[in-house]
Structures are given as C-alpha cells and as structure tokens.
C-alpha cells in the first residue's frame, strides 16, 4: 500500500515538473526545456505502469517496458544538460 502511495506521489511530482518545464519552454523556446518536459512526462508514464502493475491491474510482465522508459528518460536528461 505504501509503495502505491509513493508511486502516486512520484506521478504527481513528475507532472508538476513537466508543467514547470512546459512554462519554461513556452517562455524561452530553449530546446533543453522541451527535452525535460518529455522526460518528466515519460517518467510519469513509467510510474503509472509501475503503479498499475503493483496494484495487479496489469498481469503481464512490464519489466522491459519500464526499463526502456528509464533509459530514455536518463538519455533525455543527459541531452538537456549537454553543453552546446
């Protein structure tokens, strides 16, 4: 149960960070802000899958999907902070 609550908190926080990145992108048109927006949205998606799997709403193994999403999120974070 606590794991599920933590997953929901993580989803809310990542959506909040996605919102902040969106405002930053709209104001500045800095491409890294767009990468961050996508990264936080993907992270929220990953946590949603995790939470659904935890609550047994998804029966199949989601390990490969969530692991792939983690890699994409980390790559996007890396690209965001890349010195151009």
């Amino acid at each position: 149960m606590i794991e599920l609550i933590l997953a929901v908190v993580a989803i809310v926080l990542s959506l909040l960070l996605a919102g902040i990145s969106y405002i930053a992108y709209r104001k500045s048109h800095l491409r890294p802000a767009l990468y961050l927006l996508i990264a936080f949205l993907l992270f929220a998606f990953k946590k949603t899958i995790d939470a659904l799997s935890l609550g047994r709403w998804i029966d199949r193994d989601v390990g490969l999907i969530t692991a792939s999403l983690e890699v994409v999120v980390l790559l996007l974070l890396l690209v965001s902070f890349w010195k151009r």
Partner: protein, 172 residues
Amino acid sequence: MLMERRDEILGTIQHEPGITFRGLARRLGLGIGDLQYHLRKLERDGEVFSRRVGRRRYLFPKGLEDEAQRLLIAISTDTRRRILLRLIEGPADQKTLSEYLGVSQPTVSYHMGELVKLGIIEAERRGKSVVYRLSYDPGLVVRMIRDYRPGLLERLADGLIDLLAGVGGGDD
C-alpha cells in the same frame, strides 16, 4: 456622461500604455463591472486592446500591438526584469550585470541576446567589453514590471530557464 467616462479611460490608456486593469480602475476610481463594460466597448471599436499575463491584464491603445508583444516577452522572466531595472539606472556590461544579479555570465549573455533581439536594449562595443543600455521608454518598462506578479510555477520555470541557459550557453 457615458462617453465622457469612456474618453477618460481611453485617454488614460493612451497616456499610460501598459497600465493594468486594476491599476486603471484604481486610478479612475471606477468599479470593476463599470470599467469592464467600457473596455469591452473600446476593444470592440478597436481603440484599445489587452494582453493577459498570469493574473494581470495589461491595456494598450491601438497601434502598439507589436510593441506590447515584445515588451511582455521581455519582462516574462525574473532575471530579465532585474536586468531591465538595473539598466534603467544606467548602462552596464555583462560582467557588472552578472555580479549585480548573482547569476552566471552565460545566463546573463543569453538574456541580453534575447533582449537585444526584441529591441528593448542596445549593445555598444567599448574596447574589449560590450555595454548595454535601455532603448525603450523607462516609464513604460517600470510600470509593466511593477505590476507583474508571477505565480509560483512561473517563478520555478524562471529558475529553470536560468539554469539551462547557464549550462548550455543559451544557443537555442
């Protein structure tokens, strides 16, 4: 009586472009509903237009559409507002601004580039350094900055912009 009131509203907006809805109501001692009624008429007649930023509604006379847009972009982040307020006091180079604001030089450089592109400030090369000066009506800039009230998310986004501009040099 109604036309006199409307002329008074129009005159104030023409004299003080960028005044906020609430500022105008306070200045003329008008009720919100009353002012809304007159502004609707003036906007429909194309005499004035408004731009909403956050919780503030800025009012401009016709013909200033392009300027209003540029000014609202120029004051949209906290660092830019502080840069503009500093430049009202006098010209400054990037190093001075960086020290004054307590932000990195790449961050200042990014914002200066944006403000120059918008035509709000001018850059002038003096020896090895570039000196920036405000090329806009200081009264209008101060009025718009004074009434700007960013929300919490907007303030956090401003911090993110500074961070990203500082890391990446703001090439985008």
